[in-house]
């Protein structure tokens, strides 16, 4: 830790905490998750970046969408995202969440994740190497520093847009009144 860092910490401890303590939700969304075990274990050791896998969405603040998103998984992803406490960051991992990847003409996957959830960053590739996750983490740090990683705020502001898209593919998703703090209701 150098001297400039200490000044930054004193200016905003919250920023410091949110930057260096990214707890990832332990949720296998697709085939990309095979890259996660080497990342969190001895070979690449994500813990030195403060990245830890967490078993429950309540404890996580980093959501890695690893690989293709089938329509059924999307429901679970949205539920999980709603249960995570603010501030939370979503990173699309692999080409499938970006534009469908090799599932571009599949009948049961969604093509563009950012129509359903606010995505803070992408890691392109099929598959991205584990190092790419660290590049993404460092990039996320810079975005948090500049106040650009505000996907969770965008989600609240444009909730109508996201909910419309979500319900277009998942009609059974419960509908809530935004004025009644919809997110609180739904995460119950």
């Amino acid at each position: 830790m150098d001297r400039e860092e200490i000044l930054k910490i004193l200016k905003s401890p919250a920023n410091w905490g949110q930057k260096y303590s990214l707890w990832a939700v332990y949720f296998c969304t697709g085939c990309g998750v095979v890259e996660i075990p080497p990342v969190i274990t001895s070979r690449w050791d994500a813990e030195r970046f403060g990245v830890l896998p967490m078993a429950t969405p309540r404890q996580g603040n980093l959501f890695l969408i690893t690989g293709y998103v089938s329509v059924k998984t999307l429901g679970a992803i949205i539920r999980t995202y709603d249960q995570m406490p603010d501030p939370k960051y979503v990173v699309g991992f692999g080409s499938c969440p970006v534009n469908g990847g090799m599932y571009w003409d599949s009948y049961n996957t969604i093509k563009h994740l950012d129509q359903y959830l606010p995505v803070d960053g992408w890691i392109a590739g099929c598959m991205p190497r584990p190092e790419a996750i660290f590049v993404a983490v460092v990039h996320l740090w810079q975005m948090i520093d500049k106040g650009m990683a505000v996907g969770y705020k965008r989600y609240r502001e444009n909730y109508d847009y996201y909910q419309r898209n979500q319900r277009a593919v998942l009609p059974h998703l419960p509908k809530f009144d935004l004025s009644q703090d919809a997110l609180v209701q739904r995460s119950r």
């Binding site: 401890p13 274990t41 403060g50 309540r58 609180v184």
Partner: protein, 303 residues
């Protein structure tokens, strides 16, 4: 150390703070040591502080009701009040004649608070975790209480301060050498009391999504983490006071705690997780036999 009222108040406030600092340092150390054992670089030593700061700044988007909030507070409060009763290197602001018994009772307050919160959260994983916690407590309380009884019998007191003062003098006066069997029994149940591997099935992330902590996020998880850190301090400090002769000053006490904790971390880093039934079978076998034999010997040699 005879303390004036003012000094006593300072100690009562300062001891949980010191305990918390020591426990957080231990937490950071344990992550670093585990990383090195697994040939990783590991997080910085102050990583637990970063985590707690982050958790305190997070905003929960749900409330589980009053009992949930109060359960967490009770859990943390129980841990804080237990720390004040345990003599730490010549500082014992609330020592009375029966404080060993008080500590034994107060140690159950923290799991009880977590159980209340877990029950209020109505999550099945949390309920499973709580039931596992109390089954495990049933397992380790039997040998631990027998060992505690042996200590009380041998030194003829229920005061932790007197237990510590009777072990002063030479190293051979330590509980470890005076009461080898109860010391061994307590050491064998120490991982179960700390909730580390091989007995970490209470908060197993892979099976029951971290058990009682499953619905805790943000500030709740921060309080639960502080409670967990203080619990580690309590168990290790109690072991040092009972069997390693306590300490005359804070520095020696810290060194002894560090030694005990280091062994615990090494056990935690290399062993896998056992099942509940296996844990009970183990806990009610060897530690209980050792503790019971130690109790019998202590009673006879005293008589």
């Amino acid at each position: 150390m005879p303390a004036t009222t003012g000094l006593k108040i300072v100690y009562i406030i300062g001891l949980p703070v010191a305990g918390f600092l020591i426990a957080v340092l231990f937490l950071g150390l344990s992550r670093k040591i585990t990383a090195r054992i697994q040939r990783r670089y590991g997080p910085p030593l102050y990583q637990p502080i970063i985590d707690v700061v982050k958790l305190l700044t997070q905003k929960e988007n749900i409330s589980h009701g009053l009992l949930f909030d109060l359960g967490i507070v009770l859990s943390l409060g129980g841990a804080v009040i237990t720390v004040v009763f345990i003599p730490a290197g010549g500082i014992y602001p609330l020592s009375t004649s029966g404080d060993f018994l008080v500590v034994l009772y107060l140690m159950l307050l923290s799991p009880l608070g977590l159980a209340l919160a877990a029950g209020a959260s109505a999550n099945p994983n949390a309920s499973i975790g709580v039931s596992r916690k109390f089954t495990l407590a049933l397992g380790y309380e039997v040998p631990f209480l027998m060992a505690a009884l042996a200590v009380m019998t041998r030194f003829g007191t229920t005061s932790l301060v007197e237990v510590v003062s009777s072990q002063q003098g030479s190293v051979l006066a330590w509980g470890l050498f005076v009461l080898p069997l109860p010391a061994l029994a307590t050491f064998l149940v120490l991982p179960a009391m700390l909730g580390i591997r091989p007995f970490d099935f209470v908060a197993a992330p892979q099976e029951i999504a971290s058990g009682p902590l499953v619905e805790l996020g943000g500030k709740y998880l921060a309080f639960a983490a502080l409670q967990g850190a203080l619990h580690t301090y309590i168990v290790v400090a109690l072991f040092v006071d009972l069997f390693l002769g306590g300490a005359a000053n804070m520095l020696t006490f810290f060194a002894k705690m560090l030694a005990v904790f280091f062994v615990g971390v090494c056990i935690n880093a290399v062993l896998p997780r056992v099942r509940v039934g296996q844990a009970l079978r183990y806990l009610w076998k060897w530690p209980t036999i050792f503790a019971f034999a130690g109790l019998v010997i202590a009673t006879i040699t005293r008589g």
